[in-house]
């Protein structure tokens, strides 16, 4: 659907400001009440979801006269979707989808940001969203893992750009491999042949580049006969599971996040964490595993003429209800010695780490500001460590902590599971 298809949704915005805050029943005081990093940082209403919808609706009416300010408003958003959850508590309207389409339109109209252009150029040339050093599969050197493109495996482990290339993140790939091996899973990787999922390109508004990656990935997966894909990166997970489905590219591929796979293995008792890990932690729900990880709902219909904003057939909105919230918590609670302290903003209304939507690349200072807010909230729980389930969150939190000389530790959930098995 294009931006104009969301005209009715955008004009439903009543400027109530709910999109700025977590759902009202969950507000626990003057602190940690905000949901949207963009409005929290930049203050002008234009930087809220409601502001963006009203601007886009106005441009649909009056024409797309782009300015630097418009691009600043469009790009300084992590596309984390918290706005949509808060709005959709009470309203029946799409929020993040028109914002995404607005972003896509700016790119299609040729209004881009140099920092993001550079990343997309790298994606085209080198197949990666992060700087490339060496070969993509170098991290697996010496591990004797199966090549899923040539050998029959039950599960493909899709590693992702950041975990593959960033030397500080490769430990996550190795931990994931260790866990899958301990669980006795017949899995493989695609090593140097692995390709970027394209999800982060999509968040940045580069729809065609995303579709290009998606088509290439699914062609390889179909050729290899892969039935189940496991991702340890929440961006990859959401891309394969939700975005590929949105564009009818996923077919019947089962997509699981590693936390879902571990939770399943725990239930089936193929994985038994036996070692104690004495640590008080708080869990950060990655946006694209949590609220944006809920399944895509295919729908096509028309508004029923009349008094109400209702459709034929009825439209079911993705309100963040069915994201992946419990499996990571089940995994953490299965580890002896782990004490989980929850933050104020969790699950469907969790605060973003700051890295999404191209903000990490185009405005690192804003990404850091957002991460710092989360670190502050994590520290307020009394936890020794913040645990997440996405390398982008871990990277951003680590950078924020280093700059602030905080003593808070950062772990991906697979690192703790690896310690426990």
């Amino acid at each position: 659907m294009a931006l104009e298809d969301y005209r009715g949704d955008m004009e439903m915005c009543c400027r109530c400001s709910c999109c700025k805050f977590i759902p009202m029943q969950m507000v626990q005081g003057a602190e940690y009440s905000y949901a949207c990093p963009s409005i929290a940082k930049y203050n002008f209403h234009a930087y809220s979801a409601g502001g963006r919808l009203n601007i886009a609706a106005s441009m649909l009416k009056k024409g797309f006269n782009y300015s630097d300010k418009i691009l600043d408003i469009v790009k300084n958003c992590q596309m984390c979707g918290a706005c949509g959850v808060s709005c959709n508590y009470a309203m029946d309207m799409e929020v993040l989808e028109p914002i995404q389409e607005f972003r896509i339109k700016t790119v299609e109209d040729g209004h881009t940001v140099p920092a993001l252009e550079k990343v997309i150029t790298s994606l085209g040339n080198q197949g990666s969203m992060v700087p490339v050093t060496g070969k993509r599969g170098d991290w697996a050197s010496g591990l004797n893992l199966k090549d899923a493109t040539s050998k029959k495996v039950n599960v493909l482990y899709h590693v992702g750009c950041l975990t593959s290339y960033d030397k500080n993140m490769q430990k996550l790939a190795k931990a994931t491999v260790n866990i899958l091996q301990k669980a006795g899973v017949n899995f493989g990787i695609t090593g140097d042949a692995e390709m970027c999922c394209g999800g982060r390109a999509y968040q940045m508004g580069y729809k065609e580049d995303f579709l290009n990656q998606a088509k290439k990935n699914m062609a390889m997966i179909k050729k290899a006969g892969i039935k189940t894909l496991v991702a340890s990166c929440s961006n990859c997970y959401q891309a394969f599971k939700v975005l590929y489905d949105k564009y009818n590219l996923r077919g019947d591929l089962e997509v699981l996040h590693i936390t879902e796979y571990i939770a399943r293995s725990l239930n089936e008792e193929t994985l038994k964490p036996s070692k104690k890990v004495a640590l008080t932690v708080t869990y950060h729900d990655p946006c694209r595993l949590g609220r944006l990880g809920e399944p895509w709902i295919h729908w096509e219909g028309k508004k029923i003429p009349g008094d109400r904003f209702v459709f034929d057939p009825p439209k079911i909105y993705r309100r963040g209800t069915h994201g992946v919230y419990e499996p990571p918590r089940e995994v953490l609670n299965s580890i002896s010695g782990i004490k989980l302290m929850e933050m104020t903003r969790i699950k469907e209304y969790a605060w973003c780490c700051g890295a999404g939507g191209g903000v990490n690349e185009s405005n690192p200072e804003f990404a850091m500001w957002t991460a710092n807010e989360r670190i502050r909230e994590a520290v307020s729980t009394g936890a020794e460590a913040i645990v997440t389930a996405c390398p982008w969150c871990e990277k951003t939190f680590n950078e924020a902590i280093q700059k602030n000389e905080s003593s808070l530790k950062v772990y991906d959930i697979v690192e703790l599971v690896e310690k426990a098995i």
Partner: protein, 490 residues
């Protein structure tokens, strides 16, 4: 009219370059108005400096907090008070809280619950400023409007800082009337022709005892939050009655016995809006509930300070309802639904479901006064809605109205609205005409109606020519005419 570079620089020097913007790109985000600039002051001193500059350059200005609604002339300087978001003080002993304009009610209430306190959140919802004046679900026990404002800090249209009430003679916020200047009659947004000019920068708000837990045990995922358990000594019910007279009889007795923590005269349609998660579900539940209720009704929350207190209140409530032939709505007795309603109606978090969700817009007429009289007016306004419902121009709510007691029923508020699709010009026109006719009828029948949409010069004489005096006062306060009149800001 864009500001000249020189004038823009003067404002910029006050707030810093990151807190002022005149780029046309951001304006549609606010309202369908071309503002001269949007400025984000951080404190009272900055507001004062901005207002003085507006006077110097004869520029009109208006301020918003959360900025839901408002009427703004073209080229207005908009003061977006978003950065003024501090809770200055919560005084537990003297039971007041001092807040800046962008503290939302949900934030303040959550802080108050931790201290066993609560305040009157306005019906617009907890997403709005805690400073907002008006009425809300808790009026029965907390009263409303100017009764809950104590000392206030006000930047006048000329840029003078006036500290009203006890703040005028000390640093204390405990009283709105003194020792110090009391301008209670001026500090109002509920009377025609509009809001008080200038900017309110801080206000002390009266607090009340909260008998519930320090944090409500909310469970579930959005959009279906409920309570894990109904808090001890609390209960929520909806009762319907065979007639308006019977309902009023019960309402009056509940007020006299002072047993209800909240009494909200929802109609069946509003109950359906509250407990459902989407429009389709709402339609279906409304149809079902309409069959269950026997007539008009109200929603009640009982909150005891002890098991004995709760048992007493519950017993009295049941007697009053029984005497008036009231019937409890079974759906609300389901603990899950009871939890949804109890939480939403204490935290005032579902107003948007009741108003905007169905069609995208609503148009409302609130009437203050004795409930049994105002209901009579509302029945007429409801009948006048029915042809619009029949034509499919507004959402079918059975032609219902709603309302609630204020100060244990000594006062009351009755309200009626039409929900419609604002993109349907026929519906919009029909609703505007309905509103105009019903407002005029209210004034003619000597009810205190919201007159903002009516012709004040025609209706003013029936209010002792209040509007003429008001204009004289405004002229004195605002000699440069820089603080324009407009509707109440939410």
């Amino acid at each position: 009219m864009a500001l000249s570079k020189e004038v823009y620089k003067e404002f910029e020097d006050v707030v810093g370059e990151e807190n002022i913007c005149d780029d046309p790109a951001i304006m549609p985000a606010y309202f369908a108005t071309e503002f001269a600039a949007v400025i984000l002051p951080k404190d009272t001193a900055k507001v004062q400096a901005i207002v003085k500059l507006c006077n110097k350059h004869k520029l009109k200005f208006r301020a918003i907090s959360t900025g839901w609604t408002g009427v703004f002339p073209k080229n207005t300087i908009l003061l977006d008070l978003r950065r003024m978001n501090r809770i200055i003080e919560i005084n537990e002993k003297n039971m007041y809280a001092v807040v800046e304009p962008y503290v939302i009610s949900a934030e303040l209430q959550a802080e108050l619950f931790k201290r066993g306190l609560n305040f009157c959140i306005k019906g617009a919802g907890s997403n709005c400023s805690a400073m907002l004046r008006g009425h809300g679900h808790l009026d029965q026990t907390t009263s409303a409007d100017d009764r809950n404002h104590l000392a206030i800090e006000w930047v006048t249209p000329e840029g003078e800082i006036v500290r009203l009430g006890s703040l005028g003679s000390s640093d204390e916020w405990f009283c709105g009337d003194g020792p110090g200047p009391s301008l209670r009659a001026i500090i109002s947004s509920a009377v025609p022709p509009g809001v008080t000019p200038g900017v309110f920068t801080k206000a002390a708000i009266k607090l009340y005892h909260w008998p519930g837990p320090s944090k409500l045990p909310v469970v579930g995922k959005s959009p279906r939050y409920t309570l894990r358990e109904i808090p001890a000594n609390m209960m929520a019910r909806y009762y319907s009655f065979p007639s308006v007279e019977k309902m009023w009889q019960a309402e009056l007795k509940i007020g006299e016995s002072e047993i209800a923590y909240e009494l909200m005269g929802f109609n069946a349609s509003m109950v359906a809006s509250n407990i459902t998660t989407c429009n389709e579900e709402e339609e279906e539940v409304f149809r079902r509930i309409s069959q269950e209720v026997q007539g008009p009704g109200f929603f009640v929350i009982i909150a005891g300070n002890s098991p004995e207190d709760f048992a007493y209140k519950k017993k009295v409530l049941e007697k009053i309802v029984s005497d008036a032939d009231g019937k409890s709505l079974k759906s609300v007795e389901d603990p899950e639904i009871e939890g949804i309603l109890l939480c939403q109606c204490v935290r005032i978090s579902a107003s948007i479901r009741e108003t905007f969700r169905a069609g995208g817009a609503f148009n409302s007429i609130p009437i203050m006064g004795q409930r049994d009289l105002t209901i009579k007016w509302a029945i007429g306004a409801g009948e006048a809605k029915k042809p619009l419902i029949k034509k499919g121009l507004i959402v079918d709510d059975g032609g219902a109205f709603f309302g609630w007691g204020v100060e244990q029923g000594h006062l009351g508020k009755t309200e009626i609205f039409c929900r419609f699709d604002p993109l349907n010009p026929e519906a919009k026109k029909a609703v505007e005409e309905w509103r105009k006719e019903q407002c005029a009828r209210a004034v003619n029948e000597r009810y205190f109606a919201d007159l903002l949409m009516a012709k004040i010069d025609e209706s003013g004489p029936s209010l002792s020519n209040y509007h003429l005096w008001w204009r004289k006062i405004v002229k004195e306060l605002d000699p440069n005419s820089v603080s324009p009149e407009g509707g109440p800001l939410v």
